[in-house]
Symmetry: C2
Subunit: 159 residues, 2 copies
DNA sequence: TTGATTTACTGGTATATACCACTATATATG
DNA sequence: CATATATAGTGGTATATACCAGTAAATCAA
């Protein structure tokens, strides 16, 4: 083997937390998307649909907060799912500014179908990474995603 | 305080590694982008420019690998930086299929300017999260990003 | 009750990122 | 050498995601 095309990923800049987490997100995106197979949906879309179920007809605002996502970004992300009849928006009765998000019947069925595929990917992740460590990593990442962490980060601003 | 608008982020689906890492990526993206301030660039663009420097005139292919990014995605991501005169592509002498990526003089200056802002954000992160833990997290994420991990994950495929 | 402010969402625009089909170049094979 | 194959990059299209400027509805204040 000559020295070109090194298999070791040399020279990678590993010092930035932001960069590190995005790299990992790209990698896991590929892995989980693969696992979604021929369903036509991506891992991100499955996550979003699952969060909608968990949140029990959240408003867009609340769902955006749960996803740590910009409200308008969420709106755009939902469009393909609405177009494909998996998700629908229902005006709130009390507050006519608000819209509630829910899965359609087709959406519920699709989410169930994807759940099995997701579980396989998740199992593979846990086995490859170690179940204990995987759980700890998810807790760690949830902490970083929390507004508590954002506040701690922001407080450091003034020296 | 009444029970509407709960400040606790309840009902968040925390079980998915893919979802967890993306949520954290969105959060850190906001934080690091903020830190880039009025420079007109985002944290991702700074990371990319820094990786270009570290890789010493990589080809697009090698840079994509270092970033754990799809080759064509990298091409698209580079476009605004090329348009703004911060990055340039130079055809390789030996292999005329390949193009090498490098910062222009303006790009080098800009990267240095951003470095100081990035360092502040990174310091805040390390203080808020704990320096030791931050380093361990980055190592962990680098492992997940590695092809070694992808192989381990993929081997689990066949039961 | 009316005017000011805040809140929830929408649409536009820009970057981030992936996959696919295509082109051009390089390499391997008979 | 000529052809088959593999490699590097480009362009199109689609989703992911952010910020900003608007609109409409709710709430607060005088």
């Amino acid at each position: 083997m000559t020295e070109d095309e090194p298999t070791t990923e040399d020279g990678v800049w590993l010092d930035c937390s932001n960069s590190a987490v995005r790299r990992a997100a790209r990698r896991l995106g590929q892995l989980y998307d693969d696992a979604m197979g021929e369903t036509g949906l991506k891992g991100t879309q499955f996550s979003l649909m699952t969060q909608i179920v968990r949140s029990e007809e959240p408003t867009l605002k609340r769902l955006a907060k749960a996803m740590v996502m910009d409200l308008s970004a969420l709106g755009h992300t939902l469009k393909p799912l609405i177009r494909d009849g998996l998700v629908e928006l229902v005006p709130d009765e009390q507050d006519r500014r608000a819209k509630r998000v829910r899965l359609t019947a087709a959406g519920v069925a699709k989410q169930r179908e994807l759940l099995a595929l997701w579980q396989q990917a998740q199992n593979r992740f846990d086995e490859a990474f170690g179940r204990e460590q995987a759980e700890e990593l998810r807790r760690t990442l949830a902490f970083i995603s929390s507004s508590e962490f954002t506040q701690a980060f922001s407080r450091k601003q003034d020296q």
